[in-house]
Structures are given as C-alpha cells and as structure tokens.
Symmetry: C2
Subunit: 242 residues, 2 copies
C-alpha cells in the first residue's frame, strides 16, 4: 500500500485492517516450501528442513506454519510436515517468477556474472507490482529460463516442466547439452566458469576414473578436462537431439 500526502509518500507493506496480506517473511517460507517440495517430488517438507533453509529455529518455524495454515497457504498436520495449498503455490510461483526474471535482467542487461546475482534477486523478488513484472518480462523478451537454467513460471502461475538428468547418470560417450545446475553457490558457479563450462555447452563423458571417481569429459567436442564426482552430480544435462 502506498500512502501519499502532498509531495512525498511512504511505502509500507500492503495491509488490510492493519494485517499484512503476505509479508516478505511469509513469501520466503512459501517459496522455500515450494522448492523443497519440488526437490522431494511432492513429499511433505519437515519443520527441521525449513528451519535449516530459513536460518531460524524449529520453534520459529512451527509458529509460522500455524500462521500459514490459518491463512490456508499450506496443508499442515502437526508433526507430519507441510505441503502448499493451491493458494500458497500461486504465491510461491509468483515470487519465483520475479526472482528468475530479475536474475535474467541482472545478467543480460547489467552484465553481472551468474555467481553474483542470487543475493540481489532475493531482494527484488518481493517487489510488488503486476505491471512491473509484465513489463520486465517483455523487456527481457519473455525468457523461459534464468541464468542458471531454471525454468521461469509463466504469468498465469504455471511452472514449465523440465526433465534434465545429472551428468553423473549419463552413459559414457553420450553427447549431452549442459542445461542447468542443481547448486547455485558462487563457489560452484565460479568453478564452472574457470573450466569454461557454461549453459548450452556440449559435454561427453569419456571415462570415470577408477582412482577418485572423477569424470573425464570432452567439452564442445574439443577440450578434454576432468571434473570431480561432486561436479558431475550437480550438472544438469539433456541428451543432444542433433
């Protein structure tokens, strides 16, 4: 809600009868519940997991879950974990859409590296303006994926389904295209940068070392390199259709 009197004005979170409709905090919880549920193929998310990912204590999470359940954003049975209701999922997807669109903006328009954008997008994802999101989407030419390869939910609140495999699950000598990463830490992304592993590059597993289970790869049909098992498990790829 924007309050304007005379020349200036003052932004406060939207309220109805002095109660927040959806606070930043609630949005964060819903987003994290969505992402963790997705990761578990739709299974409930536990209180402790949420405490870990929100950087709070389990007691605080319990309180918030009670509140989110009251607002019908989550399905919550005590001690049994939570899933999102349709309403909760729509809020989560809206936040994720904004997060990923802003990430595209930061990389494509402002020239940030894919390892530098997460913190900023964590803030921008809470900016509340339907029209802004729409215009930003058009300005960016309606991107379908963010700079980490994650799909961007559409304006109607639908998450495109993607089916990537881990590089570690691909048979030897199968050509694949690098489509995403399952870890977004700056350290991991910078590590990939140093080896010129980028979204869209061609990869082929030539061997898996007996010594340390590292992966010997052929990059873009030219460059031979080794990546650790850890790296191979966090690269998301798709079998080339060419």
């Amino acid at each position: 809600m924007l309050l304007a009197i005379g020349y200036f004005s003052y932004y406060r979170l939207s309220t109805v009868d002095n109660q927040l409709i959806t606070s930043f905090t609630e949005e964060n919880y819903l987003k994290i519940i969505y992402l963790l549920t997705e990761r578990h193929n739709g299974n409930e998310v536990s209180t402790n997991q949420l405490a870990e990912h929100t950087q709070t204590k389990a007691a605080s999470v319990s309180d918030m879950l009670r509140k989110l359940a009251e607002k019908n954003y989550i399905n919550y049975r005590k001690y049994q974990g939570v899933t999102l209701t349709e309403a909760g999922e729509q809020i989560a997807l809206g936040v994720i859409r904004k997060h990923r669109l802003w990430e595209v903006f930061l990389v494509e328009k402002l020239g940030f590296g894919w390892d530098e954008i997460h913190d900023i997008a964590e803030q921008l994802e809470h900016i509340d303006s339907k029209e802004l999101t729409k215009r930003l989407d058009d300005f960016l030419e309606n991107p379908k994926f963010d700079p980490h390869g994650d799909p961007i939910p559409d304006a109607k609140g639908k998450m495109p389904s993607v089916s990537y495999q881990k590089l570690s699950e691909i048979p030897l000598n199968q050509s694949v295209v690098m489509m995403g990463v399952s870890v977004h830490s700056p350290a991991f992304l910078q590590h990939l940068d140093k080896q010129q592993i980028t979204l869209g590059c061609d990869l082929k597993v030539l061997e898996i070392s007996d010594f340390d289970k590292s992966y010997g790869l052929l990059l873009n049909n030219k460059i031979r390199l080794f990546v650790s098992n850890e790296v191979a498990r966090n690269l998301l790829v798709q079998v080339s259709n060419a």
Copy 2:
C-alpha cells in the same frame, strides 16, 4: 545479509548482533526528513510534519526520533524538531539516488509514464547492493535527472544544486524551459500530459487572466493554452539561454 545453506537461501535485513543497521522504516524517515528539510531551506522538521508524511501518529514519530538520534542520524532537541547529521544525510541521499535511478529505468527502459512510477520506486529504493546501483547507473548512461526533473545525487552522496523558478514567478513574455514539477501526484502529471506539457518544452507566459488568475501560455512557440494558477505554481522552469 544473505543466508545460504545448500541450494536455497533467505533474505533478511542486514543485522549486526541481531540489530538492524538501517531498516526500511528508518530509511524512509531519513529520506522524508531530508526532503522536508530541503523544502524548508534547511530549517528543522517538526514531529507533526513527519507524522503526516509517514502516515503515522506523532507518538510513533517521537519514538523513532529518539531511536534515530541514538544512532546519530539526526540532531534532535525535544520539542524543537530535527535536522539530519552528516551520517543521516548520507543514508537519505543514497536512498534518494536509488529512487531516482529506478524511476529513470522504469520510464526509459520499461516505458512507464512519469505518473506511474513513484509507487514502484518507493519499493526499489530500498534494494541494498552498491554494485547494482553502480551498474544500473551505467546502464542508464549516468542520468543527472529523474523523469520529474529532480536531480540525482551522485555516487559520492552529493546532491547537485539546481535553481529553478516557479512558472508563476516568471515575467510576461519571458521564454523559459520546463525543468521539473514540485508536485508528483499522478493526477497532476496526467493533467500535464493532456496538455502536452513535458519536461524540456518551451513556455512563455502571455497573460494572467484577471478573471481567475489562470495563465495564458505559449507552448513550444506554437500552441496557445490556459493553465490554472495552481498548475503555474507547480511548474519549475529555467530562463532559456538561447
């Protein structure tokens, strides 16, 4: 402060020992104090004025002033109003810089009208990233003024001084250039749009009506039109040097 564990992360306002360094609320108070002080040519801002512009009660303002004074962001003598300290002014100018840069972005890049951007900029001005502000500034080609003609403080925290006059103070038949507005309400801005009065246009006062003190103008040396006294007092202009 961004907290990251594993795949996700979670944004909370920056804290030191669990105390906010500068909350959105504090930033808003400091910004409003700056703008009101500027309007009064450096005189103290009163509690009631702040209550009006923050849309809160005087009691709440008193509390906040005590807190801001404790942090040495304002000079506060009870019952005597406040001014900003150097530290407080730097925070205010940082917020105003971001606000105005984002306004340029919204108009120049996303095609918003100058009457639609204020509410969104009120949110964006609190995004906390030095690097983002720097890159946004470059992306916009280091604009010196926002879409309302207000000067943009530089990265060092210096507000450019501008000296505009109200159209209502300009002698008859003096050619001037429209440089800004002293009211930012959508209604006023849309009213100007309808008469094709835009930043940079040429204006000349041909007459002031005896009947209703309205202003008969020549716009861009072509179009004759009348604007109310109220409009003339809120148009900021500069004598043409051509």
